[in-house]
């Protein structure tokens, strides 16, 4: 009897058995994979391309950036956090953890005195201090995210480095689910995309263009960034804003732009040459917490949901 002569039913049976076999294998692999002693030592390539070997499960972690601190808290690793940067302000409990100072230059003396077995750095302007820290025998993991996808990979990296890969996978799938839901809603919607302008500090306007997290979030949430054709954060003239006629103005507030929102709103409303902008005529100016858009942590998804909500408000 050759394969061709099998009935449909028999065929299904073969396929089902195959599936069961693979499934059982998968479970076995998973069980052996989760066994503690198999996880360490682990070799990881971090976002600066450095090969880092972690011999034991880290018990004393320093997070040198707010984004990493937030990831640590979402992964429930806060018991192991022994140091954080001055800028780590979320969640509130971080204030009980010892600070290692500003993000750059890293205070090597402080870091060494805390005896960490893992330092989570943001890279970027911290890169210059990292080789020195590694020379002094400290494991440094660089997590550098310029896109949401990279932020998600960063969560995976930290989860692996800390010996809780399953917890990381779980968090990642939750995040992906929330993002996918919004993507689906946006795709299904037939509304016209609102034109969005992000403006802060109206003395000299800095606004995010293509390649920034903010731009990515606006696009994902179904908006159109008026600076989508520019690269990176750009300093722009007020004329450009008037010409592009945004429907919505977002004002990030927080440490970087601590001004009162009512004052900023007044500044925008009375900005010379902007009276014809739809966002100003329809009073579509929204203050948003900048941390949800600047920080490459899990709260980016909160930012995404907030934007979606703003874009789909009933006027």
């Amino acid at each position: 009897m050759n394969y061709k002569n099998k009935t449909n039913k028999e065929k299904n049976k073969v396929i089902f058995t195959c599936f069961m076999f693979v499934f059982v294998l998968f479970i076995i692999a998973n069980i052996t994979g989760t066994a503690q002693d198999n996880l360490f030592p682990i070799t990881l390539i971090d976002d600066s391309g450095f090969k880092i070997v972690i011999n034991e499960k880290p018990e004393r972690i320093i997070s040198a950036a707010p984004s990493n601190t937030e990831i640590i808290y979402t992964l429930n690793l806060e018991d192991k956090l022994v140091g954080r940067s001055d800028f780590c302000n979320y969640p509130d409990e971080t204030k009980d953890i010892e600070s290692i100072g500003k993000m750059s230059p890293l205070n090597l003396e402080k870091i060494i005195s805390l005896n960490p077995d893992l330092v989570l750095s943001y890279g970027g302007f911290q890169l210059k201090d990292i080789p020195r820290l590694r020379d002094l025998g400290i494991n440094v993991l660089v997590i550098r995210s310029d896109t949401i996808q990279e932020m998600i990979q960063g969560i995976g990296l930290i989860a692996h480095a800390c010996g809780i890969p399953e917890k990381g996978e779980e968090l990642i799938s939750q995040i992906n689910e929330r993002i996918n839901w919004i993507s689906f809603q946006v795709m299904a919607s037939s509304r016209q995309k609102p034109k969005v302008f992000v403006g802060s500090n109206f003395d000299s306007i800095w606004s995010p263009g293509n390649g920034t997290l903010f731009h990515e979030l606006i696009t994902l949430a179904g908006g159109e960034n008026i600076l989508g054709n520019q690269q990176g954060w750009v300093s722009i003239s007020p004329e450009l804003v008037a010409e592009r006629e945004p429907d919505i103005i977002l004002v990030p507030t927080g440490i970087m732009n601590p001004e009162e929102i009512s004052k900023i709103k007044k500044d925008i409303m009375s900005h010379p040459g902007w009276s014809n902008i739809p966002a100003i005529k329809n009073n579509q100016i929204f203050a948003v917490n900048e941390d949800l858009f600047y920080r490459a942590g899990p709260r980016l998804v909160d930012g995404l949901e907030l934007l979606y909500e703003i874009f789909n408000r009933k006027k």
């Binding site: 100072g101 230059p105 090597l108 003396e109 302007f125 890169l127 210059k128 201090d129 080789p131 300093s235």
Partner: protein, 352 residues
């Protein structure tokens, strides 16, 4: 040069006993540096008992974290501050001598702006190309400062002459031009801005034994070469004409000091960033204390520079700990009032 024998020099400038003075000053200076160094060692983000520090020093203990903090972080940093202070103040004094200008500092001949532009270009390239260049930033800075040195020399050279005013003006022009380029670079960059600004304000936090081993030899060799030119600098202090009459080849002297000083500054600055004020005012303080004889004034200037920078760095590390203040901000805040005070006192006492 042949007229500048010991005897003539004494006769001309009336600096008897300079050897005793120099001996006393050097011994006193080294003791002062050791004491300041130990004081500096005691301060930092982490407080460590002095007895503990002494025992770590004595046993050369680098196994635990305190040992690492002392031997790998604090001591290299102290030595780096010392070397930078020596170089800046010593070269500043020599430049003031050859340019006969009290406002001259080691940066006036364009080296600093060149180094800064080199380093900022390196930082910008690092972000643009995505390659890691931090370790070779000093090379960028060095190339930048050599380019600016060459430009200053090229622009001020008049046939075979190197006129003083032209040298100064060319230095100022190159400085302004390079500073404008840096501003341009700062305007078009955003993520790399922070690193650049920190570099521009001076940063000793990255000192290591390796860096010290690189700058040690040039700094000491250069310092000796400068000090050996002291007699000629003394003659220059009388005026260019007078120095010529005494047989000093002022053009050659100027070129020599310019090249030695600039190379020293370029090497130091490429590791520490721009630390301002020290090179301008410390030589004046030295002059107020020991008088204008370069044979004593230059070493004293270097010693005071070293002590001053060690103290400033200690303050920069501790005042806002665990956050560090750029050392360039501290030097001027502390130095300017100190200088004004000394100046006032001199005027009241009507010394020399």
């Amino acid at each position: 040069m042949k007229y500048l024998t010991e005897k003539n020099n004494k006769y001309l400038y009336g600096y008897p006993n300079w050897k005793y003075k120099a001996f006393f000053v050097l011994v006193f200076g080294f003791i002062a540096i050791l004491i300041t160094g130990f004081i500096g060692l005691n301060f930092g983000t982490i407080s460590i008992q002095p007895q503990k520090i002494l025992s770590i020093l004595w046993h050369h203990n680098t196994s635990d974290s305190l040992g690492i903090i002392i031997w790998e972080l604090r001591i290299p940093r102290l030595i780096m501050a010392m070397l930078a202070g020596m170089t800046l103040a010593g070269v500043g004094g020599a430049f003031q001598g050859i340019l006969r200008n009290p406002l001259a500092d080691p940066y006036i001949l364009g080296v600093s702006a060149g180094a800064a532009l080199g380093a900022c270009t390196g930082i910008a390239l690092q972000y643009i190309t995505g390659t890691y260049l931090t370790n070779i930033l000093p090379i960028f800075a060095l190339i930048g400062s050599f380019i600016s040195m060459f430009l200053v020399y090229f622009f001020s050279k008049n046939k075979s002459h190197l006129p003083m005013t032209d040298l100064l003006l060319a230095g100022v022009a190159v400085n302004f031009f390079f500073s404008a380029l840096i501003t341009l670079l700062l305007a078009v960059s955003n993520r790399e801005l922070h690193s650049m600004i920190f570099w521009l304000m001076g940063d000793l936090s990255n000192s290591s034994w390796q860096k010290i081993s690189i700058i040690f030899l040039p700094v000491f060799a250069g310092s000796f070469l400068l000090i050996f030119s002291s007699l000629e600098l003394n003659a220059m202090a009388l005026g260019e004409e007078e120095a010529l009459h005494l047989g000093i080849q002022t053009e050659k002297l100027r070129l020599r000091i310019f090249v030695i000083g600039s190379v020293m500054i370029a090497i130091v600055v490429s590791f520490t960033g721009l630390i301002g004020f020290v090179g301008l005012v410390i030589p004046h303080i030295a002059r107020l204390i020991v008088g204008p004889d370069h044979r004593i004034m230059l070493p004293v200037s270097a010693l005071i520079g070293a002590i001053f920078l060690i103290l400033c760095d200690t303050i920069a590390r501790t005042v806002l700990a665990p956050t560090e203040i750029p050392i360039g901000a501290i030097t001027a805040i502390i130095g300017a009032p100190l200088f004004i005070h000394l100046l006032k006192r001199r005027n009241e006492n009507n010394e020399y």
